[in-house]
């Protein structure tokens, strides 16, 4: 695998609050993939949540406080920022600058951070220049073919306009059989607080998404947003359907479900 000549050697990981609390394995997979590709991962320890729940809920005053806090945390390093979530990346890239547009101090900072923030798959494909992750890049030993379907989450797809990167990466993984679900680009109904405040509508939307996933007859649903994946997982579990949900990084992970070994971290 040859990366772009100007590919950065370091990156800051903004892990997101949901990976921190609910899907740490996805975050660890992100770390392993990046390091396998020769990128040193920085994890600013003071990071918390980007503030999206408050922003989407309309509590912009609270959202601004969290945005400023996060900007302070991320501006300590000059390294590009990798966010393993389409919607949180969209928050940093698009909504921080809007939210803080009239703030003389944080407005420009938001612009600066926005310009060096990337969603995980985008970072791999557009910034590092990874075109194909093949068996030699990942020490993946999949003996059986893994049937999976890809759910393009809304803010990744229509917020950040990332359409191909995750698909390309998945297509390159040995032993993966990609199956397209019907109306794949349709929202799963999550929408943050929407799922609670408008639970009826959200549930109806989720039901359609689950039907689509089930009809694809796959083992796994892959996405780039843990939030949507947890929403889908919760629905599948309630239905008693045995389909797992995985973050893209978990499929690309050089060492799924095994302990970190030293050679991965040493030249």
């Amino acid at each position: 695998m040859t990366l772009k000549s100007d590919a950065p050697r370091r990156a800051q990981l903004f892990a997101t609050c949901l990976i921190e609390t609910l899907r740490p394995e996805a975050g660890m997979a992100v770390v392993r993939v990046l390091e396998k590709l020769g990128v040193t991962v920085e994890f600013p320890d003071a990071q918390t949540c980007c503030g999206q729940p408050a922003f989407n809920g309309g509590a912009w005053q609270d959202a601004r406080a969290m945005a400023k806090y996060t900007l302070d945390v991320l501006s300590k390093s000059k390294a590009p920022i990798v966010v393993p979530s389409g919607s949180c990346a969209d928050m940093l890239v698009h909504h921080y600058p809007e939210l803080l547009a009239s703030d003389p101090q944080y407005g420009p900072l938001a612009q600066e951070i926005s310009a060096r923030t990337y969603e995980f798959s985008q970072f791999l494909v557009d910034v590092l220049g990874v075109t194909k992750i093949s068996a030699s890049d990942v020490s993946r030993l999949t003996h059986d073919v893994l049937r999976l379907t890809y759910h393009p989450s809304c803010h990744l797809l229509r917020g950040l306009n990332i359409t191909q990167a995750p698909r390309e990466l998945l297509a390159g993984v040995e032993g993966v059989n990609m199956v397209e679900m019907p109306s794949a680009t349709e929202c799963c109904g999550f929408g943050g607080l929407f799922a609670i405040k408008m639970a009826d509508i959200s549930s109806a939307m989720l039901a359609r998404k689950l039907d689509a996933i089930e009809s694809a007859q796959v083992e796994t649903v892959v996405g780039c947003d843990v939030s949507c994946l947890l929403h889908i997982a919760g629905g599948l579990h309630r239905r008693g359907v045995n389909i797992t949900t995985k973050h893209l990084a978990e499929i690309l992970d050089p060492a799924p479900n095994i302990q970190i070994t030293e050679e991965m971290y040493l030249p």
């Binding site: 892990a15 609050c17 921190e20 609390t21 609910l22 899907r23 740490p24 975050g27 660890m28 994890f43 320890d45 003071a46 990071q47 918390t48 949540c49 729940p53 408050a54 922003f55 989407n56 809920g57 309309g58 509590a59 912009w60 609270d62 959202a63 406080a65 969290m66 806090y69 809304c154 803010h155 797809l157 229509r158 929202c187 109904g189 929408g191 943050g192 607080l193 929407f194 799922a195 609670i196 405040k197 408008m198 639970a199 009826d200 509508i201 549930s203 109806a204 939307m205 989720l206 039901a207 947890l230 929403h231 919760g234 629905g235 579990h237 309630r238 970190i260 030293e262 971290y265 040493l266």
Partner: protein
């Protein structure tokens, strides 16, 4: 259904809609078909994306100079022999139309499709003065027979299946039952023909008013619009003040995207361009043309952060693309303008305080923005209105408090770790019986567990796992150093 918020709550209307299986059949049939047709139609337009960009620029330019263009438009209409009226609000518009009707001793009115008349509830006002009003757009006619309101801005009866419509026509105009659209259309046409010939006044909507010529443009597929605007002695055209385009060239750009986005046609069957009333020596057309321009809050919206919603050309594409609209239909919104555009426009015109539920009725998936021919950033404006609603005290207290506590926590890392650790214990304890899944969350979070389980927090947070992995690495490095 106007811009007065109805008595039944949004949630009650939604519940009713979600239970309505016939509604879902009707919506799935129609919205699915329109979406596919739209994609095909846009593909037939060379450089469609550039045309959309241009259409957006035209709308932006026009609204930035609306006062100038409105003046020009009014002057041109009058030069062409038409009369122009400005109505500040809904009542003013209804009063203007009634006054015209009185002057001309009008007894019977035929109407073409007009969202403005729905917005002002003009039919009620006319009927209250004992005027006979007949809707002539097929969809509107069905709605009028059923005593309902439109549920879609271009397909008023989209919530009805063809079977329901067949039964309705059988009952109301005594034709044999059929669910064949062609037969139903023929029957309705025959009935409506007589109405056109007897009517004294025709009332229509307006898709665009062209400032440079004073022309009004009306698009339609049934020919009823042409009859409404030409057969009766008086033609009254109703338009929102924002419906202006500067030139005929601009109009042609708008028309290229309007029909494609709306019905998936390259162009509508009838595209009527009307300039002035009947002139001496002309064979048809009304004796008088009155154009009534409605403000009703629009000029106020112009200066705000949601002004962009006035770019809307009422194509309805955002309704068809919206997964929320598809679940609840138009009536649940409670406003004459439903769907994504309505969720922004209704609070903008009628007040966020009265309509605070509508901006919440979205998962912010962005499907509307993707299809909008003039690229209105609807999700962005829903967010602006949510912010406004919160500042107007319209957010539930528990949520307000919850988000405040959350933001304080999230800006203090030690507190954040404490909170997530505690929540971790809590969810794992509760999830112990469900093998890591919670079947029920307490109110007010129980909406989640209505249809999905909630995962317990991970035993070891990402931070902890990450630190451990670094720790292992450091020890290893130390080992190496020692060996050397």
């Amino acid at each position: 259904m106007s811009l007065h918020s109805p008595n039944v709550t949004f949630h009650e209307r939604v519940e009713g809609a979600l239970r309505d299986e016939i509604l879902h059949t009707a919506l799935d049939r129609a919205t699915g078909r329109f979406q596919n047709l739209r994609v095909t139609a846009l593909a037939s337009l060379p450089d469609a994306e550039r045309v959309r960009d241009r259409a957006r620029l035209i709308r932006a330019h026009t609204l930035a100079h609306l006062d100038t263009y409105l003046e020009q438009f009014a002057a041109k209409v009058e030069q062409a022999g038409g009369q122009v009226h400005f109505a500040r609000d809904a009542n003013a518009l209804n009063e203007i139309v009634l006054e015209i009707a009185r002057q001309h001793k009008v007894q019977s009115v035929v109407k073409g499709k007009s969202m403005i008349s729905e917005e002002t509830e003009l039919n009620h006002a006319l009927q209250a003065e004992n005027l006979r009003v007949v809707e002539t757009d097929l969809g509107e006619y069905i709605i009028q027979l059923a005593g309902e309101t439109p549920s879609h801005i271009i397909v008023p009866a989209v919530h009805k299946t063809k079977e329901q419509i067949g039964a309705l026509l059988h009952e109301k105009i005594s034709i044999p039952y059929t669910a064949d659209p062609a037969q139903m259309t023929a029957a309705a046409r025959a009935t409506l023909r007589r109405e056109f010939l007897n009517a004294d006044m025709g009332i229509s909507g307006v898709n665009f008013g062209v400032a440079e010529t004073g022309t009004i443009c009306l698009v339609e597929n049934e020919g009823n619009g042409r009859l409404t605007t030409t057969a009766p002695r008086v033609h009254v055209a109703l338009m929102g003040i924002e419906r202006i385009v500067p030139t005929l060239d601009d109009l042609s750009v708008m028309l290229q995207v309007l029909a494609r986005s709306a019905t998936g046609q390259k162009i509508t069957v009838y595209t009527n361009l009307l300039t002035g009333a009947r002139r001496n020596g002309e064979g048809d057309g009304p004796n008088e043309l009155h154009i009534v321009l409605l403000d009703n809050g629009r000029s106020r919206v112009l200066g705000t952060e949601v002004a962009e919603i006035l770019y809307c050309i009422r194509c309805g594409a955002c309704l068809n693309a919206c997964p929320v609209y598809r679940e609840i239909g138009g009536h649940a919104y409670g406003s004459v303008y439903p769907g994504p555009v309505g969720a922004v426009l209704t609070p903008a015109l009628g007040g966020v305080a009265q309509w605070s539920d509508l901006p919440q009725a979205s998962s912010l998936c962005g499907a509307c923005r993707e299809v909008c021919p003039v690229r209105i950033d609807i999700p962005r404006m829903l967010l602006v209105e949510r912010d406004e609603a919160v500042r107007a005290g319209k957010m539930a207290w528990w949520l307000r408090l919850g988000l405040r506590v959350y933001s304080v926590t999230a800006t203090h890392p030690a507190l954040f770790r404490l909170a997530t650790t505690t929540a971790g214990w809590g969810t794992r304890a509760l999830g112990a019986f469900g093998k890591g899944w919670l079947k029920r969350l307490p109110p007010p979070l129980n909406g989640w567990t209505q249809s999905r389980d909630f995962p317990a927090f991970a035993k070891k947070s990402f931070r902890a796992q990450y630190r451990e992995s670094r720790h292992a690495e450091l020890i290893h490095l130390d080992d190496n150093a020692f060996r050397e």
